[in-house]
């Protein structure tokens, strides 16, 4: 199987044999790229259902214990959350611009935007780490030492924080995995593996990175913006 592929790609080899060349089971470069895009989207849909389960758990418990969720949500830092959302959107922009640079065959610009994406992602996780530390200091981590000053429903408040850490933690782990992939892509981009004709890995990683951004776009209102006016607590 491996040797078969090697033979097929060798025939069409240019500067990087077997890398980005037309594989024998595709009819055209176009079809090859469309297949990669569809494959990536199918993967992202499994991710969507993965996060979807957590969102469902969130909706169920919020429906059952609205006061607990409202008062616990007010413990998060609204403006810090908005700032972090901004940082993540900036990293999505630099990622989109990285794909754009790749499509124009601009190597240095591509590397620059990928590095910027990595740094902005790092800044996001830095803020997140600060927030986690803050929760730790205030004993707002579910468990034996859980405390929530001024919370309305102490029995069920830990549920909010369990979901908070579960969802933001799963989101953060996706970003950490993204950093690993980004480092490889930066190295490959630097060594000139991508051309304006072929930069599929950059584009596919872009899809992943934007997906992670979308998850946060929903996590932000659901975790930070619940009942800031305190209406349901009256």
């Amino acid at each position: 199987m491996a040797s078969h592929t090697a033979v097929a790609t060798k025939a069409a080899a240019h500067s990087h044999p077997g890398y980005g060349e037309l594989r024998h089971h595709f009819e055209s470069h176009e079809q090859q790229k469309d297949s990669a895009t569809i494959g990536m989207w199918v993967f992202l849909l499994t991710e969507l259902m993965f996060f979807g389960g957590l969102f469902l758990a969130y909706f169920i418990y919020r429906q059952w214990y609205p006061e607990a969720f409202a008062s616990a949500s007010n413990k998060t830092d609204l403006w810090l959350g908005a700032f972090n959302t901004t940082v993540l959107i900036c990293s999505s922009l630099t990622m989109a611009l990285a794909v754009h640079a790749a499509s124009k065959g601009k190597r240095i610009l591509l590397v620059g935007f990928l590095v910027a994406t990595l740094l902005l992602g790092g800044a996001f996780l830095g803020v997140k780490a600060y927030e986690y530390h803050d929760k730790w200091v205030h004993h707002e981590i579910p468990g034996d030492h859980f405390e929530c000053e001024g919370c309305h429903d102490e029995v069920h408040t830990p549920l909010f924080f369990a979901l908070y850490f579960g969802m933001t933690g799963l989101h953060a782990s996706h970003m950490i995995i993204g950093f690993g992939v980004l480092l490889v892509l930066i190295w490959q981009a630097w060594s000139g593996k991508f051309t304006e004709k072929w930069y599929t890995p950059i584009e596919m990683f872009g899809l992943y990175w934007h997906f992670v951004d979308i998850v946060w776009i929903f996590l932000f209102p659901l975790l930070y913006l619940i009942d800031r006016t305190g209406r349901s607590l009256l």
Binding site: W41, L45, L48, I60, S92, M95, A96, L207, F218
Partner: protein, 105 residues
């Protein structure tokens, strides 16, 4: 020819416009959450509508679905429907449980 259409490069100005909209909406949704809109469900509806709009911008422009093939569009659409089925079919149960005084609640 369709083959040329495929290699569609989205102009940078589109990215910057989408980016600006996303940033503005982020701060709008944060600010509006501190305002009492008359009912807490209205606050939730506004926050989620803004989130759905932002996510749509990202999917259509940053993720190039607007310029993608019909097959890609269909797969993305089906995925969203699938997620909504998960969320709504279960939530319809939880939302309506209090409507009837039946056992199991």
């Amino acid at each position: 020819m369709a083959a040329h259409e495929e290699h569609h490069v989205v102009p940078k100005s589109v990215y910057f416009a989408v980016f600006t909209a996303l940033i503005v909406l982020t701060w709008v949704t944060a600010w509006i959450s501190t305002k009492d809109l008359g009912s807490s469900s209205l606050n939730v509806a506004v926050a989620l509508s803004i989130a759905v709009f932002k996510a749509s911008l990202v999917v259509l422009f940053f993720m190039h679905v607007k310029y993608g093939t019909k097959l890609t569009k269909m797969i993305v659409g089906i995925g969203i429907v699938w997620l909504l089925m998960l969320l709504f079919i279960v939530m319809i149960d939880f939302w309506t449980r209090t409507w009837m005084g039946v056992a199991g609640r």
